[in-house]
């Protein structure tokens, strides 16, 4: 009997007796004989807990994590400081082992936390409504495009080439299978080319998608793109970074209709890529087009303020093939993490994080250039990430760095053939001057 299973042999006998069967196998007779497994699965024998821990530690130790590497890599996943308290709260059984809050009476914990999450996302973006989370920023961008296509009844999306290549790849998958066309807007100096955007915009375009800070870290002229969209009655979809929003204009301020982003930087570990979390927020108009769960405030039969899943008529379990999206489970615990992160950090804290990312990335760029190992590139104002051209080749630089315990920048060669040997460096508030100086010293 396995330690995770509490039914003893005596129990089994009593239960079978009650059911009127003489063996458990009799309960499986509905399975046609020919497909009943005759042998054990080819899976190793079960193990004890100490054995498990040993195996997993060996496995973990075969990786060099950013616990030991000094991380200058970003490109969609960010090494921000995670307050110790978060883990303790998020791992409370009450949050961790509950399901989606279908029964509001015994799920107010989760429901209120999501309500607070939504409130924070709305405040960060300036937009009217947020949902309870999506899988990641890439699928969130796809969902945003669907909203735009539905709202405009148009079948074409313009997306900047300065948008994270992974986001664009997922977007392509989602749009092509929904028979929506995508066209890319060209780059100029690591930013989206406004003229090219104008040129490609017309009344067939459902939405223009621009990311800011974009994949290269560049802060885009969002207002301009938003105006192009407006001029064509297309929606403007902003892909934004939640930490940068502490200091940069909100999507609402520049007239975005939809904002999406990656909330991983808000207290979620990098986790080798997941679970992360995508957020989405929209203007009033698009509320009923939002995908996934939404929590709303209401009162109970005694007039007490409380929270429920609401506007469910959009969702798959009610609307089935006509739902706004197929999403069911989302990234609730990551949303809780982000909510706790924002509560601990507060407005001042988030601004401080953003300020330090700025200061340190500017300092790093300047110092890296001083090593003379890089050529400067023309890049407008950036946030947290910037591009440099490695004189000796990107691979060589990164190998050298790795040998010195430093996780180097992202090599743009594969995604942007025109930026061969260009490295995208990321410097968060976690990096100290000393670490940045060491990076430069290794490369001097």
């Amino acid at each position: 009997m396995h330690r995770y299973i509490p039914v003893t042999e005596t129990d089994k006998a009593t239960m079978l007796d009650r059911i009127g069967k003489s063996s458990i196998d009799e309960l499986f007779v509905a399975i046609p004989e020919s497909i009943r497994l005759q042998t054990d699965l080819n899976i190793p024998e079960g193990i004890s807990e100490p054995e498990l821990i040993k195996i997993m530690k060996v496995c973990a130790d075969e990786n060099i994590s950013t616990e030991d590497l000094c991380c200058f890599l970003g490109a969609g996943c960010y090494d921000h400081y995670i307050p110790a308290t978060i883990k303790h709260l998020v791992s409370r059984s009450e949050f961790l082992t509950a399901y989606t809050p279908y029964q509001p009476e015994i799920s107010q914990g989760t429901l209120q936390a999501i309500f607070e999450y939504q409130s924070n996302i709305c405040n960060l973006t300036g937009l009217a409504y947020s949902n309870a989370s999506l899988y990641d920023v890439a699928t969130a961008t796809g969902e945003a495009a669907f909203i735009a296509a539905d709202a405009t009844r148009r079948k074409k999306i313009l997306v900047s080439r300065a948008v994270d290549p992974q986001i664009r790849a997922v977007l392509r998958t989602m749009l092509v299978n929904a028979s929506i066309e995508t066209e890319e807007i060209a780059l100029i100096d690591f930013a989206t080319d406004g003229l090219n955007c104008s040129a490609k915009s017309n009344d067939g375009v459902a939405a223009i998608i621009v990311q800011s800070p974009n994949f290269f870290g560049t802060i885009e002229e969002m207002k301009a793109f938003s105006e192009i969209a407006k001029a064509n009655k297309a929606l403007f979809i902003a892909i934004v970074d939640p930490i940068s929003l502490a200091i940069l204009p909100t999507p609402a301020e520049y007239g975005a209709d939809i904002a999406v982003g990656n909330a991983q930087p808000l207290g979620n570990p990098m986790n080798f890529g997941g679970p992360h979390i995508g957020f989405i927020a929209v203007t009033e108009k698009h509320l009923r087009r939002l995908p996934g769960r939404i929590v709303g405030q209401t009162v109970d039969r005694e007039g007490r303020r409380c929270y429920v899943l609401t506007l469910q008529a959009r969702e798959q379990h009610i609307r089935r093939e006509k739902a706004t999206s197929n999403i069911c489970s989302n990234q609730a615990l990551c949303a809780l993490t982000a909510t706790i992160y924002l509560s601990l950090v507060g407005a001042d804290g988030l601004q401080e994080v953003a300020r330090q990312c700025t200061n340190k990335s500017y300092y790093a760029r300047e110092q890296l250039l001083a090593t003379e190992s890089f050529n400067a590139v023309r890049q407008p104002v950036f946030f947290r990430e910037f591009v440099l051209a490695a004189k000796s080749g990107a691979t060589k630089v990164n190998e050298l760095l790795m040998n010195c315990g430093i996780l180097g920048g992202y090599d743009l060669s594969a995604d942007y053939p025109e930026y061969r040997d260009h490295l995208l460096f990321c410097v968060t508030e976690k990096r100290s001057k000393q670490e940045i100086d060491r990076l430069c010293q290794v490369l001097s």
């Binding site: 399975i31 883990k87 679970p275």
Partner: protein, 483 residues
């Protein structure tokens, strides 16, 4: 005392629960760089660390959860979530890995993920597995795109339709729609199985495939599965398996052997990863070998010299479906679970899950109306109270269960059963737990007869009771907007 404050209501300027080292490089005057900066007020909560801890601790206590009580939510497999799996998933050597690290710096996690792919393929009887999808519905979507791609590659361009039984979970038709298919709904037999005549009538050269879960959403094994598979295949369609109910059959039978071509699993159900109040989940997709080329990007492979790496150079792939590769922390927990149980343990889990469901069925069948009078698999569906005269609905019973300290079953699903109550006890509940739960259910049935009026206001013991959902939807208040 019902704690009901919002974190924003604790906020006051000047308080903070956070400090990082002072900035040790010079200040950039951002206004000199960026033309505009944020203009709107940043209204994040400002609280001390202690206040933050207290707030979320208090919120948490308002949740029912597996660690504190029985949670027989059907179709959700609310089994025990082993704590050691949380520990191993949080090891720095995993949680602090950047997804874009060079492969030679993360062979450990790549090997783990690869081995998990192999285990899942073995358990389901498939040939290749992708771990990329973030949840069950995402898995469905991914699987359907693979089916689509398969037909496309064969230039079989008319196959626009996906057949979905009316008993299916809502994500099935929704995923098919998002994947660009037309959904054809077929009626089920009274016992929730596939109606072969309906199926035959629906099949044609326009059909890309059939989505099915087996055991069905009524908790019954589809006995005609081989016939169904033959029919669909004969019509040129593929068979998709919704793995939400996999907890019934581990080590007993395999979807791959039943004839399914594409499957997804819910690791946050069958494989013990916690649900986290609604996610993150993980919905790996398995395929038969002829579909391998269509799997999403990236694919994780093992080279001949035992080196693990992602490949993206797969022209026939459906493309990327998510940032990076899967919800890794969830995947680690599922892998730890499989290692811990092993072949025999997995089979035992399914056997006891089925035993428990059948036992519960027996305990309840006199007072609640069985949807189908047959041996069930891992879950059992009732059509409300046996006595239909009291006016007490399934919703009433569910709410009243809360007063007895239980999470209600899944209700009003599957939709083809009126007043449906779907109980899934899982294998991690003891006989005593089931006996006590059944006793509460019988008491409620008696209450329905004797004092039906008490139901309208149930629950009485929860922090809140019967929230006004209509008001919530009519005048949506979806965020805090000041005192």
């Amino acid at each position: 005392m019902h704690y009901d404050k919002l974190i924003f209501e604790l906020s006051a300027t000047g308080k903070s629960g956070y400090a990082i080292p002072k900035c040790d490089v010079r200040d950039i005057v951002l206004t000199k760089l960026a033309k505009t900066l944020r203009n709107s007020p940043l209204m994040l909560p400002c609280v001390s660390e202690a206040e933050c801890v207290r707030h979320f601790t208090n919120l948490s206590t308002q949740n029912h959860n597996v660690d504190s009580g029985f949670y027989p939510l059907g179709s959700c497999t609310m089994k025990y979530n082993p704590r050691v799996n949380e520990d191993v998933a949080m090891l720095n050597g995993f949680s602090m890995l950047h997804p874009l690290q060079p492969a030679n710096s993360c062979q450990g996690i790549l090997r783990l993920l690869y081995e998990l792919q192999c285990c899942l393929a073995e358990i389901t009887g498939m040939d290749a597995v992708t771990l990329a999808p973030a949840a069950g519905a995402h898995g469905e979507y991914t699987g359907l795109l693979i089916i689509k791609k398969y037909h496309e590659q064969r230039k079989d361009n008319n196959r626009r339709k996906i057949i979905v039984p009316d008993s299916a979970h809502g994500t099935n038709p929704a995923s098919a729609a998002v994947a660009g298919f037309d959904v054809v709904v077929i009626k089920s037999t009274p016992d929730g199985g596939v109606d072969l005549d309906e199926l035959k009538a629906a099949l044609s050269d326009e059909v890309a495939g059939l989505m099915l879960t087996n055991p069905s959403t009524l908790g019954l094994f589809e006995e005609k599965i081989l016939e169904i598979a033959a029919l669909v295949h004969a019509a040129g369609g593929l068979l998709y398996y919704d793995g939400a109910n996999m907890n019934a059959i581990m080590g007993k039978t395999r979807p791959g052997d039943m004839g399914f071509d594409v499957i997804h699993l819910n690791l946050h159900k069958t494989f013990s990863a916690p649900h986290g109040g609604g996610g993150p989940g993980s919905g790996p997709v398995g395929v038969k070998s002829f579909l391998t080329d269509y799997l999403p990007l990236p694919q994780l492979i093992k080279t001949e010299d035992e080196y693990y790496e992602f490949i993206v150079d797969l022209p026939q792939s459906i493309g990327r479906i998510k940032n990076f590769y899967g919800n890794v922390a969830v995947l680690i927990k599922a892998y730890a679970y499989i290692l811990t149980l092993g072949a025999a343990g997995l089979r035992e889990a399914s056997e006891i899950a089925v035993l428990n469901a059948n036992y519960l069925k027996e305990l309840l069948r006199n007072d609640y109306q069985l949807a189908v009078n047959k041996e069930c698999m891992h879950e059992v569906v009732f059509a409300g109270l046996a006595d239909k005269n009291s006016g007490v609905t399934t919703l009433d019973v569910a709410k009243r269960l809360i007063d007895y300290g239980y999470h209600p079953p899944t209700i009003y699903f599957p939709m083809i059963v009126e007043q449906a109550m779907m109980f899934e006890p899982t294998e991690t509940e003891s006989k005593t737990a089931l006996d006590e739960f059944a006793a509460a259910m019988l008491k409620i049935a008696r209450e329905a007869k004797e004092t039906p009026e008490i139901f309208k206001n149930a629950p009485y013991t929860a922090p809140v009771s019967r929230p006004d959902e209509v008001a919530a939807a009519r005048k949506p208040v979806l965020k805090y907007s000041g005192a």
